[in-house]
């Protein structure tokens, strides 16, 4: 067990170092700086009465940048190893293909979490500058968003096992930013649909990744919304574990017998 943990740790560390080498996290830092500068421009108009707007803008930008980085990182961890032929020395060690997949997944999640937390700190500085208050739900927002980023990474890695990195990231972007719209369309159309379509709607709703469930931004940005009940956080955790397992299983089914 401890040997396996060591393997995962080494593989995940490799993904983080690779991300640093490719300056992905530097890009995040620059984006953060841009956020601060943009906030400065907003301050030019005066922020009295705009606090909620600024907070909402903050959580939206934070979520979007973190999701973009999570997709870009995770959709290329596997294809890059194959393309650069660094996969062969890895697999020549006592590492199974499943270990490799899980290690890369953990690494991708870590990179997206580090980026998200870096952006969060910069956003917090910007918000404090404008005297925007924080409520305890902000912590729940961070926790839920981190779980959501893990699901984003799992979906992107699964796609990258079946298609090119460009196609995988494109499809992941579509799902990450449009799944809530698809779910909205399903809920609006359900009442008027026939029985067969209703069955299809339910199936699609069950399969599609429910990224919007992990976004507490609308509660965190507005006033006087209470904390989310613990059973909901528990549900989100279980959903994350189940969905990530399902995605990793899919990726493994393809990857375990793939000719390298």
């Amino acid at each position: 067990m401890s040997a396996r943990i060591r393997i995962y740790r080494a593989l995940a560390r490799g993904v983080v170092l690779e991300s640093l080498r490719r300056k992905d996290l530097w890009v995040v830092a620059i984006l953060g700086l841009l956020i601060m500068l943009t906030s400065g421009v907003l301050g030019f108009f005066g922020t009295s009465g705009l606090q909620m707007f600024i907070k909402d803008l903050g959580v939206t930008v934070l979520g979007a940048f973190a999701t973009i980085l999570a997709i870009l990182t995770s959709s290329r961890v596997l294809p890059d190893e194959i393309k650069q032929r660094t996969l062969y020395p890895l697999l020549s060690r006592p590492i199974t293909r499943l270990d490799l997949l899980v290690g890369k997944f953990i690494g991708s999640v870590l990179v997206s979490w580090i980026a998200f937390l870096m952006l969060s700190v910069m956003m917090a500085v910007a918000l404090v500058t404008f005297k925007v208050g924080f409520e305890p739900i902000m912590l729940q927002y961070l926790l839920a968003k981190m779980m959501g980023l893990a699901v984003v990474c799992a979906v992107s890695i699964a796609f990258s096992a079946f298609m090119t990195p460009a196609a995988a990231s494109t499809l992941s972007f579509i799902l990450a930013f449009c799944s809530s719209m698809i779910v909205r369309a399903l809920t609006v159309g359900y009442a008027g649909a026939d029985d067969v379509s209703k069955w299809g709607f339910k199936a699609l709703n069950a399969v599609i990744p429910q990224f919007s469930l992990f976004d507490l931004g609308s509660r965190a940005a507005n006033l006087n919304w209470g904390l989310v009940p613990m059973w909901v956080i528990g549900f989100l955790f279980c959903y994350m574990v189940l969905y990530c397992s399902a995605m990793m299983s899919l990726a493994w089914l393809k990857f375990r017998k793939a000719a390298l």
Partner: protein
């Protein structure tokens, strides 16, 4: 070779249909353009800047609506939902002018209308959601900076000016009315041909300041502009144009200008034949009735009726 021939035939056919179809011309290329939008077509930089400004101001518009509802996303009901008797999440009657059309519901449906089971329950718990039947609004004055920002970014955004003014004038004080009228006049300077802004100023002059003559001057201007642009007009402007005739007829009735009431009603009915108010006013003028109330009260009542009509 064959595909090339077919492509050529299809292109010539499409060109022929396009050139012979003139039904879309007044919409795509109206004779009278909304002046604020001209800049978008006049130069590449103007067009790009226009797109940016329009997008940002539309985003701010959505944000101001979200702010009023404390983050709860609302949407208009679909035709099918209205027909099926879907529950309307209207706003509570708090004695103020309504800030939005009330034929709305929440984007995230309530439990009894949501087929998603636990996913729906969790989304209602993680998002800003509550039952919005007879909902109240956050203090709208806090959203004023957003209206100021959106009209600064896109001065041709008429809804920003008119709704912003109603938000400013919400506390019914003389000072607030003055500020709202000033805000609208600023909008009118940017959009001198906007009927919606003119009727909004007239509404405030009539219902708040009880200044019928000032209201008439704005309404007459709106009437003239509307008549000139009657062939092609956006929906909001058309609704404002219809109100112009109603309120103008009410003002003339109070001023005792019977012949003007008749002229205005007849002209209005020639454009809005299904209007329910103008025939009543015309009938009253024909019989020489003075009317049941003051124009200011009647105009307010008409606006309330119109909003209720929207709800049903």
């Amino acid at each position: 070779m064959k595909p090339a021939i077919w492509c050529g035939v299809a292109m010539v056919g499409a060109l022929g249909i396009g050139m012979s179809t003139d039904g879309l011309r007044p919409i795509v290329n109206p004779k009278v353009r909304v002046s604020g939008l001209d800049i978008h077509d006049s130069a590449v930089s103007g067009s790009l800047l226009g797109q940016f400004r329009t997008s940002i101001s539309a985003y701010l518009w959505v944000q101001s609506d979200l702010y009023l509802h404390n983050g709860v996303q609302m949407r208009p009901l679909t035709e099918a939902e209205i027909k099926s008797g879907h529950e309307v999440m209207n706003s509570a009657n708090d004695g103020h002018e309504k800030l939005h059309n009330d034929v709305v519901t929440t984007v995230i449906p309530p439990k009894e209308r949501d087929f998603r089971g636990i996913f729906g329950d969790v989304e209602r718990a993680t998002s800003a959601w509550k039952n919005m039947k007879n909902h109240t609004h956050n203090d709208p004055s806090q959203s004023l900076p957003l209206f100021r920002l959106m009209t600064w970014l896109d001065p041709s955004f008429i809804d920003g000016w008119t709704t912003g003014a109603m938000v400013i004038a919400r506390d019914h004080s003389g000072l607030a009315t003055g500020k709202a009228v000033d805000f609208l006049k600023e909008g009118l300077a940017e959009n001198p041909e906007s009927i919606d802004i003119l009727t909004s100023i007239a509404y405030l002059e009539l219902t708040r300041r009880k200044n019928i003559n000032a209201a008439v001057s704005y309404l007459e201007k709106a009437r003239g502009l509307g008549w000139a642009h009657r062939a092609s007009m956006p929906v909001n402007e058309r609704e404002a144009f219809e109100n112009t005739y109603r309120w103008l007829a009410l003002c003339y009735r109070d001023l005792g200008r019977r012949q003007d009431v008749i002229t205005v009603c007849q002209e209005g009915l020639s454009l809005f034949s299904d209007d329910k108010v103008l025939p009543r006013l015309l009938d009253g003028a024909m019989k020489g009735e003075k009317g049941p109330g003051k124009a200011s009260d009647d105009a307010k009542a008409l606006r309330d009726d119109e909003e209720e009509e929207h709800e049903h």
